[in-house]
Subunit: 210 residues, 4 copies
DNA sequence: GATGAATGAGCATTCATTCAT
DNA sequence: TATGAATGAATGCTCATTCAT
């Protein structure tokens, strides 16, 4: 699926898609290593496996690469969340499972998420808005799962807050690993965060037959 | 107090201190507005009130400015935390109060924290280590306050986790304001986060006579 | 008629001719608008109605397009001068008529002449010589008409000078329109320039029975 | 006198003036040789005797060099015309003298005028307007001299036309030398053009006691 | 100590031209 | 014949850093 926010002068859409994937893959690795600003377009071209001229057949400006990278990361995270999280199921188990899936996802896409985290602000306002909408969607998914897992209604704001906390704690496993890895593995991290959350919600939670 | 990590060719320490403060003040404003990479040394010099030549009498490289800025921010946050948080007091009230102080601090230094958040990765490994140590110190303060507020011992890892959660939630008020401000004011945000935390800890908390 | 100064890899001469005409038509419009140097080969191909690859089947280098354009303009001007000017007729009326025709021609081909005027110097020396020969031919035509209109012989140099003056005044109507249009329409311009010229020549002119 | 249409980041106005003169001198030579578009900024810097970085301390964009060059040429032509032409004197001799001075000037600044002629269209609309105003001023000077040399009034349009003819004939000596030099030297060219003009005006001219 | 002119390596971007299909 | 994807040399411009005054 070609991202039409970024025009290309190449007509063959399948090719555009293929080349942009090469580009994204190469760019993520570089951005991870040295950040967007310290990465040159030539390096991106080289890491993508084609020439600088070819790079510019598929984008207009360097910032387009960043946009493509951020968008692709958000898209992949969103898709994988949609695949692994059931927003209809109403059991508590479903919330626990959703958190686990999401944290595992964050663990696996750690580098990508870190890149995204540090560089979104380098995008133009428009591009940021476009990309952040996906973040809102993801938080909304978590909110739905939370609501479904509760037996009593709690204030909307609290649901939003919990969803945001979970969301950020997932990312935190990526961008604060330097401090967390002293005390946790991914599994213990998931387990303890879940534990803490459920304790806080205990009185409103649905009964679960495990 | 002159930061000796960054050598200056000027002998007069008082002057170095004064000039660097001008520099930091000007630079924070610029980094906030356009980020470290898009800010030029000329702009920094101008915003600091002196010439480009003079700027380089007080630093060696552009990165030194970033280091000075980050260090100064951490330093100020740390100092203000130390001033408002009592790590000896053992009441639950003290934890509540510490959280409130810290969140208010984050609210007031929102821009600075945002800058720091996005730009630390641009520092050299050494500079990052130096600066992150201050972060570790702050988390440690929170850990101490948490431990003091509990009647029973809980695993060290849990203490670390809670401290990290609080720490990040404070920053989150700054860097995710775009999504949080739909549901919260600073006060309601503090109140609900505190509420959630205490619910989760309720069984281990010290009794409080309010 | 295919211009053999510019080789093509296509064999079918009729096709070459057709494609080059498309090319010239498209290119003139572009050169007029933005000049030769700011026009890209891709734009020329697009304006010509075929692909960049096809463009290069009919020329060797970008400069060939400019040559083709200049040559075509000169050719058209020359042909139309030959069609409307009678170099055998010896009346004064014929000179007056020749000037009128030529000025009207310049008015109609204003854009083309302007393009040619500004861009010939971008041609290689050889191409310039080739193209300027046509200009010499046109001036020679004017010289002939002038000589025919005189009753007495005047120095060759004077004839050349007058022919050049007429020639340039015709072009001047194109490239200095910004200043002339405040005082003249095409008709008054023709009338006054003719008047001035005839005054200067009055004593040598042939009698005319109008 | 520093041209304020083009901002410089250097404060010392005398220096700006000096460097820009170096720049103009170097650039004219290059533009003359290969045209504005085929001249690189590096070449301009080199020909000016300083580095590319320094060049850009005195201008903002490459086009600024062209503007500076065109403006300087017009300015010099205008100044020298003002110095050698008397717009108050009312004798016929004065017109003859003015033409001679102007043609000699064009002869001496041939290269500059050629450059200007071919490249003004590369300037932005604004810059063109600014520069062409100087041309209007010069034509106006010629008009004044013409009017002063006449005993009877002739239509304003005719005065404008004659002034323009003289103006263009002066330039023509530069840009059509390839065809004129077969029949003329500068002196004979001046003499014959003047002769032609005076013949045309004879009945309206002031008596001159030579 | 302060200034700001000079430097040139470095970077993003363009575009004429080629060539496999 | 026609196409258009690929190439990379070339170019305009920026900016951190130095150093003479």
């Amino acid at each position: 699926m070609v991202n039409n926010q970024v025009p290309s002068s190449i007509k063959d859409e399948a090719l555009v898609s293929k080349r942009r994937n090469q580009m994204i893959k190469g760019a993520v690795a570089l951005f991870k290593e040295k950040g967007f600003h310290k990465t040159t377009t030539r390096e991106i071209a080289k890491a993508s496996g084609f020439s600088i001229g070819t790079l510019y057949e598929y984008i207009r400006k360097k910032e387009d690469v960043l946009f493509l990278v951020c968008d692709s990361i958000y898209q992949r995270v969103k898709e994988r969340m949609e695949a692994s999280i059931d927003t209809n199921e109403t059991s508590l188990q479903n919330l626990v499972q959703a958190i686990r899936s999401y944290f595992q996802l964050m663990d696996g896409m750690q580098d990508e998420v870190l890149v995204m985290y540090q560089e979104v602000k380098s995008l133009s306002k428009d591009a940021q808005d476009y990309v952040l909408q996906k973040e809102r969607d993801m938080v909304a998914m978590l909110e739905q799962v939370i609501v479904n897992s509760l037996s009593e209604k709690i204030p909307e704001a609290d649901v939003a807050l919990i969803a945001n906390n979970i969301f950020v704690q997932g990312q935190m496993w990526g961008f604060r690993r330097w401090i967390l890895k002293r005390s946790f593995t991914l599994d213990t991290y998931i387990e303890r965060q879940t534990h803490l959350l459920l304790e806080g919600l205990s009185s409103q939670l649905k009964e679960t037959q495990s």
